[in-house]
């Protein structure tokens, strides 16, 4: 009797699998296509691409070249500090805002629901957005590197490339934070919530302004601080703490907030 009961199930599974098989190259293509269109849509969105691609290098040139160029020319440490600060600021934006606002909007407007109903490969949306953020960071780092010599920073190309790689991967904890906010907030409130985290984080991480000694501990809580220190270590400049610890903190932030967001989306759609 048991065979009789089991047989239709096996038959059914065979039937379901009987259609065209999705081979690995097509699955990879699905991920690639998702990432391509995610990047394209963000590049076409002037409210996103404009500020996040141009603001870091614009501010870097304003402060480092126009306003304080003469002072910075005499102080290589300040030149490096300023470059690192605006680079990390550039890294934070695409992940936090790109995820925060688009996930909230897609959730509210039913697009995430549609993608769950379609045979979208698991995590394609998530990876697509992460790759989009990484692409934006790569562009930002290229513009920063191009502007560096104007702001009296002369780093060998290999070191600039190394730093850029650190920053490209360093955007992941910010993606996770944005993802988490996007999974909670409405489309309208998401930008405000992201700003509530983004702006204090820039200040309290000590990446743009040195922090008073008494408040330095706050910076340890911020992935921006850990990314900045990892970047300094990558170019062989003096840094605080152990790079392994910095990377571990960023990895934990990435995993924990991504998991929280995925859990929340699985519950509320």
């Amino acid at each position: 009797m048991e065979n009789v009961a089991v047989a239709p199930q096996i038959e059914n599974r065979r039937e379901a699998a009987a259609g065209p098989v999705m081979d690995r190259s097509r699955v990879l293509r699905a991920y690639r296509t998702e990432a391509k269109y995610e990047s394209l849509r963000m590049l076409r969105s002037p409210a996103f691409a404009g500020p996040f691609l141009l603001l870091p290098v614009g501010l870097y040139l304003l402060f480092g070249y126009v306003l304080f160029g003469a002072e910075i020319a005499k102080d290589p440490k300040a030149a490096l500090f300023m470059f690192m600060g605006f680079s990390v600021m550039g890294v934070m934006g695409p992940g936090m805002f790109g995820f925060g606002t688009t996930i909230a909007t897609e959730r509210e407007h039913g697009l995430l629901r549609l993608k769950r109903a379609l045979p979208t490969p698991p995590a394609a949306s998530l990876l697509g957005k992460m790759l989009m953020s990484m692409l934006f960071v790569a562009i930002i780092m290229a513009t920063m590197a191009a502007a560096a010599s104007l702001v009296h920073l002369h780093l060998p190309a290999a070191r600039l490339i190394g730093l850029s790689l650190v920053n490209v991967f360093g955007c992941l904890p910010f993606c996770a934070l944005g993802f988490f906010i996007g999974s909670l907030a409405s489309a309208k409130s998401a930008p405000a919530f992201v700003n509530l985290l983004y702006l204090p984080m820039i200040y309290l991480s000590g990446i743009l302004f040195p922090m008073p000694k008494s408040m330095e501990w706050i910076a340890y809580l911020s992935p921006a601080y850990h990314l900045s220190q990892t970047g300094l270590a990558a170019i062989g400049a003096p840094s605080n703490g152990n790079p392994v610890v910095h990377i571990a903190v960023m990895a934990v932030v990435t995993v924990v907030f991504t998991a929280l967001a995925v859990r929340r989306l699985a519950r509320v759609g």
Partner: protein
């Protein structure tokens, strides 16, 4: 998926808080059919589709899609989906949106072919955000078609379409059915169900209250109406088999009957002077209204 059904709900109950959206509902989708789900707002049609698509999980009972859990990606590679409320990415062009969805499937139609098939070639390079409501629905329909699905779920596919676009969608649906695709359609347009459906399932308050062909639905509830002028007493007619109600007013006698032919024969035999004979068959709209009212 016993009996070769492509999708099925088996005694499914789904609650949202205190509200029971589906109450022991069983429903199956057979190969090659267009099943129209009808029912008033809040009847549970969208919840039923959500369970079949794996977007919700039943509290009781089981949902199967191609014999698998609806959440299984292998099962979902056989389906095309058009949801009622989904705003796509406004910055992407129509061709790009379709290309993105095509990438999810093992053997999709080329983008050009699907644009031609659904009559949306002229929209190819237009950003989705700049389209009219009707055009957006057409693009969503093209996205449902692109994966060469064996089963399509269309939630109110023609809302917001002008007559020409609706005709185009209907023609495309007929072509798909001819090619062996099955379709589950929810609609408020009863003429849509009448024009397309092989089978209609009427849902009210989360329960399946009737299911069958369009004609069977009519027959189930529409006791056809006979009107005539006759001297036969209404009490006498009321005793005849197949007669359900008899009334007399200034226009004559009105009879509702499940088998009009036998009643008409008897009327003519009983009254040689009978005149003004009319037999009416109501549309699905009346049948549907009557069904949902009766069961509510």
């Amino acid at each position: 998926m016993t009996n070769g059904n492509l999708a099925e709900l088996d005694s499914v109950t789904k609650r949202f808080g205190a509200i029971t959206a589906l109450d022991e509902l069983s429903l199956e989708v057979r190969p090659g059919e267009l099943l129209a789900l009808l029912g008033p707002n809040g009847a549970g049609k969208t919840t039923a589709i959500s369970l079949l698509l794996g977007l919700e999980r039943p509290d009781k009972g089981t949902a199967r899609l191609f014999g698998l859990r609806p959440q299984s990606i292998a099962a979902r590679r056989h389906i095309g989906v058009m949801l009622q409320e989904a705003t796509l990415v406004p910055e992407l062009r129509v061709g790009e949106q379709i290309d993105m969805v095509a990438a999810y499937y093992p053997d999709p139609m080329p983008v050009d072919a699907v644009l031609e098939f659904t009559g949306t070639e002229s929209l190819r390079r237009r950003p989705y955000g700049k389209l009219s409501t009707g055009q957006k629905r057409q693009v969503q329909f093209a996205m449902a078609v692109v994966g060469r699905p064996r089963l399509m779920f269309l939630d109110e596919p023609t809302v917001g379409l002008d007559i020409q676009a609706r005709e185009m969608v209907w023609a495309t649906l007929r072509n798909l059915i001819e090619d062996g695709c099955s379709i589950v359609l929810t609609t408020h347009y009863l003429e849509e169900a009448e024009a397309l459906a092989d089978r209609v399932a009427v849902i009210a308050k989360g329960r399946l209250i009737a299911s069958g062909s369009v004609d069977e639905m009519r027959a189930l509830v529409v006791r056809k109406r006979i009107t005539c002028r006759t001297t036969i007493a209404t009490e006498q007619i009321a005793k005849w088999p197949d007669v359900q109600t008899v009334t007399r007013d200034q226009h004559g006698v009105r009879i509702t009957a499940s088998n009009t032919e036998s009643v008409v024969r008897r009327l003519l035999a009983a009254d040689q002077d009978l005149y003004g004979l009319e037999v009416e068959s109501a549309g699905l709209a009346e049948a549907f209204a009557e069904l949902t009212q009766e069961k509510n």
